[in-house]
């Protein structure tokens, strides 16, 4: 809950480019990443963005491709709000939020600059055309919410995919084309495949109050702001998706502003993510 006077103070802060925690409108909160903590998963990542805390687990499972795309693997995304996030994150509201978050992530990952296909090369997941393929099950969990959930979730998803190792599969030869071929999974982690995340976008949340636009809002800032947009940005800086948050309609001008802001922030954020992943990997090796 937020009072009108508090909203005014926050509004003034956005205007003066000095937010409650001293950040400028363009600044993000400190980001930290931890990879590979979940044993049962093929890949995992935990991301904290300020006080927002999310964890993503990726499991590569054997499955069958869809009839109209026999050479493609599968992708499932679920998002859940943990009971740990607080009693308010439970019940119908929590479920509705989880559903929305999952939808946004799904749409962001299905985006491609050409407008076709997925941000992940699903053909690389195919094992036997029309019969067997890898299905990537991405399960995200929100542990603590302090705004910018989609930002933290998309970063964690990207990092978890980067951390994912898919076992090498040897397909046995068959004489009869209708016969089910034998599959042998290579246990050696050195032979495992990595997932190409070069086209995986991250989502940048931008809030608007009057003429001020702000990235990485806290929960309080989100509540105070009138409009919010979540913009999916590729590593190249291209926008590949846009979802409007709650609030009043956004003017075309505002949309432009938000998109250009997201385009500037996206690559910078990805750089920070890359650094985080690199340092996490190094500390694991030592």
């Amino acid at each position: 809950m937020i009072g009108s006077d508090e909203k005014d103070f926050i509004r003034g802060g956005f205007k003066a480019d000095i937010r409650s925690d001293g950040r400028a409108c363009n600044d993000s909160r400190p980001l930290s990443l931890s990879l590979g903590d979940l044993q049962p998963c093929s890949g995992s990542a935990r991301c904290t963005l300020g006080s927002t805390d999310v964890i993503v687990g990726v499991k590569a499972e054997l499955g069958a491709p869809l009839p109209d795309s026999p050479d493609c693997g599968g992708l499932h995304i679920t998002v859940e709000c943990s009971p740990c996030a607080g009693p308010t994150s439970q019940g119908r509201a929590g479920e509705a939020l989880s559903f929305e978050l999952a939808k946004c992530l799904e749409r962001a990952l299905n985006a491609h600059p050409s407008g076709r296909g997925s941000a992940l090369d699903l053909r690389a997941l195919s094992i036997v055309s029309g019969r067997t393929c890898w299905v990537l099950c991405i399960d995200a969990l929100v542990l603590a919410c302090d705004g910018s959930l989609l930002d933290a979730l998309s970063i964690a998803v990207r990092a978890a995919l980067q951390n994912t190792r898919i076992p090498l599969v040897e397909v046995g030869a068959t004489e009869d084309p209708d016969e089910e071929p034998e599959l042998e999974l290579d246990d050696d982690p050195a032979n495992a495949k990595q997932v190409d995340v070069s086209r995986v976008p991250i989502i940048v949340t931008v809030c608007q109050m009057d003429d001020a636009f702000v990235v990485d809002p806290t929960a309080r800032e989100e509540e105070a702001a009138e409009q919010a947009c979540h913009i999916a940005v590729m590593p190249t800086g291209n926008v590949c998706g846009m979802f409007r948050g709650s609030g009043a309609a956004v003017t075309p001008f505002a949309l432009q502003e938000m998109m250009s802001l997201a385009q500037k922030r996206g690559p910078l954020l990805l750089q920070a993510v890359g650094k985080s992943i690199a340092s996490a990997a190094m500390s694991m090796e030592t």
Binding site: G3, E6, F9, A16, I18, D21, G22, D27, P30, S32
Partner: protein, 278 residues
């Protein structure tokens, strides 16, 4: 230091009075909380590190209005109990002592409406356990033009002055015993809060904070957040200390919550403790 279920040593004293955090089992005093044992004369109690705020008479608190109905406001102060502020416990325009009319009831929202923040004092604890607040003093009332922070209530010790002017920073701070902390630029000639006796025009006339004032407020706010994250006591002195270290190291407000500065603060703190103990 004890854990739940531990026996508390009472052999050294003749008798004991059971305080908070303890229970008596088979004549033995046993801890019901994990924390430090406190002995004041014969009263033995256990104080845990953290606990949801439990109001005590005379506590100064900050609260947010959640409901306006039937001659009283309901507030959220993060306490265990229900909290209310009676219409009769608020100073009204037109003089303090006059009977509340039906008109006053309708106009309640012009004084405090849903979402408003205010500072108040715990007036009494009702028989059913609920808390009654009052703002019958010039220093209490609606809070505007500043920033609100939430910290664990245990980190705010009951001290002499909960309203402080941090003159070096140009900020006024209110330390709510319930763990809600208010920071706002100091305004000339006015107290920390916009008094409820002042006419509405006066409150609106408060100038919006300047950029320099906002810088100061955000610095102070981050200092409080940092102290809270390190589980350190929050007081004007500890806040100013953090800001001092910040200035010495040339750290900007927005970088105060990074891992590197938090580490630097811990280092400073241990250095200072070492020096005072020598």
């Amino acid at each position: 230091m004890v854990c739940v279920g531990d026996r508390i040593d009472t052999d050294m004293q003749e008798g004991f009075l059971r305080g908070h955090g303890t229970q008596v089992l088979d004549g033995q005093l046993v801890a019901t909380e994990c924390g430090l044992v406190e002995r004041v004369n014969k009263l033995v109690s256990v104080r845990p590190l953290r606990q949801r705020y439990s109001a005590a008479l005379g506590d100064i608190v900050i609260g947010r209005v959640t409901e306006v109905a039937g001659k009283r406001w309901r507030l959220d102060i993060g306490a265990r109990q229900e909290v209310s502020l009676q219409l009769s416990s608020v100073d009204l325009p037109g003089g303090a002592q006059r009977r509340r009319t039906a008109e006053d009831e309708i106009k309640m929202r012009t004084i405090f409406k849903e979402g408003d923040l205010l500072s108040a004092e715990v007036q009494s604890l009702h028989a059913d356990g609920s808390i009654a607040l009052h703002t019958r003093s010039a220093k209490y009332g609606k809070l505007t033009g500043g920033d609100l922070l939430y910290v664990p209530a245990a980190l705010v010790k009951r001290q002499k002055h909960h309203f402080t002017n941090l003159t070096t920073m140009g900020i006024t701070m209110i330390l709510g015993c319930n763990g809600m902390v208010w920071l706002a630029p100091t305004h000339e000639g006015s107290s920390a809060a916009a008094s409820s006796t002042s006419a509405p025009e006066q409150t609106a006339a408060k100038a919006p904070a300047s950029a320099a004032e906002r810088e100061a407020v955000s610095k102070a706010a981050n200092a409080v957040r940092l102290l809270a994250s390190l589980s350190m006591n929050i007081s004007p002195a500890s806040l100013l200390n953090v800001c001092k270290v910040c200035a010495e190291r040339g750290v900007q407000a927005k970088d105060m919550l990074t891992a590197s500065f938090i580490g630097a603060m811990l280092e400073e703190e241990s250095q200072q403790r070492l020096q005072t103990s020598l």
